[in-house]
Symmetry: C2
Subunit: 349 residues, 2 copies
């Protein structure tokens, strides 16, 4: 290269620019690679399975590549995204029933199957999801969408968790929040598909999980469009529209999303997620199904399923089982829970 003083760009300048370019191009990808997107997960098999799967399906040109518009991930909520002992919506319902019992009988609507409120809550333990949802539907009949939302918002702002010394909305699993974010960063659309009430969950899903209302699928009541004081509002009837449990989860994924999930995760307790995971696995090409196992008595709870159905299905179908005890470095963002009451009498135990 010429040594003329007239040169505007010197060899030294060129070297510096090249060095800077090398620095930038090498620094950027390695930063992205070095930052662990799942810091609350141990480096065990579960995390490796997830990361390998996401890497494969996002590897353009690879044999397992899946276009972004087909990257659908569905998650159960109770016991998968947040703690289900007791089920948060049951705490909400108990408060609602308590308020109703303070009203004069004439203001109370007729409840379907209770003598006392405690009887009702007790009966739910044996009667299950359908009984709970029927009671929930009946006790909220006639409310507008706006009134219902306001009541749920108030519940979340004022209520403490009965077992842990934190606000009720803080019992979300930090590893799952990271997983949702990791999937979204890789072009996935993340959905909730839960037996819980669709409207109940939608009030908090954007804030807790970054999941907008239209990506929440749940149990629902029939609604009507009615004119109330000059405004047309959706009001709740007392009739159930859908009980989003077991195979009905697959049916509602079909209705709301219209394609099979590429990624689906539920938890071990009632067999309620087997239908969703089975439906996901029926997808052509690669897909991933995960089951969360509550085996951490110290940091959360240890409980199993009466008939062992979910774990058997996982074994038979090759689904990955995530152990809270072994696969999660931490569980809650607030650290180890300080327990208030070990023996809760609410359903979900």
């Amino acid at each position: 290269m010429s040594t003329s003083n007239g040169k505007i760009i010197t060899n030294g300048m060129i070297s510096a620019v090249v060095a800077l370019a090398v620095l930038l191009t090498s620094a950027l990808p390695s930063t992205a690679q070095d930052t662990d997107p799942l810091p609350s997960w141990n480096d065990s098999q579960a995390k490796k399975t997830i990361v390998q799967f996401v890497t494969r399906v996002t590897n353009k040109g690879g044999p397992d590549y899946v276009a972004p518009e087909q990257r659908i991930a569905t998650f159960d909520n109770d016991g998968t995204l947040w703690c289900e002992r007791p089920i948060v919506q049951v705490i909400y319902l108990r408060q609602k029933l308590d308020r109703m019992s303070e009203q004069t009988p004439s203001q109370c609507i007729e409840l379907p199957f209770l003598a006392t409120f405690d009887d009702t809550i007790d009966s739910l333990k044996t009667k299950g999801v359908l009984a709970f949802l029927k009671l929930f539907a009946t006790t909220h009949a006639g409310m507008s969408q706006r009134e219902f939302t306001a009541e749920v918002e108030e519940f979340f702002s004022k209520t403490k968790h009965p077992n842990f010394d934190v606000s009720i909305g803080r019992v979300v699993y930090q590893p799952m929040v990271e997983l949702l974010e990791y999937l979204r960063a890789n072009g996935f659309k993340t959905y909730i598909c839960s037996g819980g009430g669709i409207d109940f969950m939608r009030v908090v899903s954007p804030k807790l999980y970054g999941i907008p209302p239209q990506q929440v699928i749940g149990s629902s009541v029939r609604k009507e469009l009615q004119e109330v004081e000059g405004v047309w509002v959706l009001t709740r009837t007392g009739d159930l529209n859908s009980v989003n449990d077991k195979n009905e989860k697959a049916v509602n994924i079909g209705l709301h999303i219209g394609q099979r999930p590429l990624f689906a995760m539920g938890n071990v307790r009632s067999g309620g997620d087997i239908g969703m995971l089975t439906y996901s696995q029926g997808r052509s090409g690669r897909s991933l199904q995960l089951l969360l196992n509550h085996d951490d008595e110290e940091r959360e709870f240890a409980y199993s399923e009466k008939n062992g159905e979910s774990l058997q299905a996982a074994k038979a179908n090759g689904w990955s089982v995530v152990s809270m005890k072994n696969d999660w470095k931490s569980i809650f963002a607030f650290g180890l829970p300080s327990r208030v009451d070990e023996k809760s009498s609410l359903p979900g135990e």
Copy 2:
């Protein structure tokens, strides 16, 4: 500047680079401003109303600003996004019935209310949406989601429009395709909310409108998760799940989206979109409702509503009426339709 031959960059080169930079920086913003996002719309009031509305709700810091997650736009399909004379899904059903009539009676499923196929199609004219959907449900009962999709895909690939000399999937309104794209470019999520079958529309909505399956709301049948040859599939039952017409459109928007549309558009014909537009207008703050009026006999069709209900509602509530004749510069991407058959005997007239 030096005239040395050793110079790597000459003054002329620098001038050229500077000129190019000036050209680029001045050209880019003005290109964005100058490119009309709605070229198939005339510069009449309808277009002004739309552009002013979008500008207001996307103006950060302005009094009418709406966050992107609340920018929901819902559109009827038949007669709003594509031509409804005849209704495309009715053409599909007629072909299905013709195929079924060629089979031996034992292979035919029992149809609910017909003597001959033409009688059935004729009866739909008077019996309306519910009768059509019941017949559609019954004639597709037992099909898996995959089989149904394959049949609809084949229909779209092979069928010509009975009135215009084009393929059946080409009767989409070009001004509406532009409007959908314009709204999406401004952070809106665009949804279909139609009386048509949800699964039927989902087959073509990504390609025709850029609308993914999860953003299509429509009439639906009950489904079941069933094992067929070792794979668990969703199969259609013969029972209706939802007739997405009139007020039910609002109910299903509540179920699928969970918030009121900021922007809603339907068309004049059956009063079927009044519920959706009313629900959108009940939103707190600014919102926009539009009704498309089919008044262009030369370039499409001119038809009105028997009782004038939709236009009366538009007048009473301040909704904007879009005239195909006056507000649209062109209607179809393929230009003026070449008519095959002026008198179609299929419903939708």
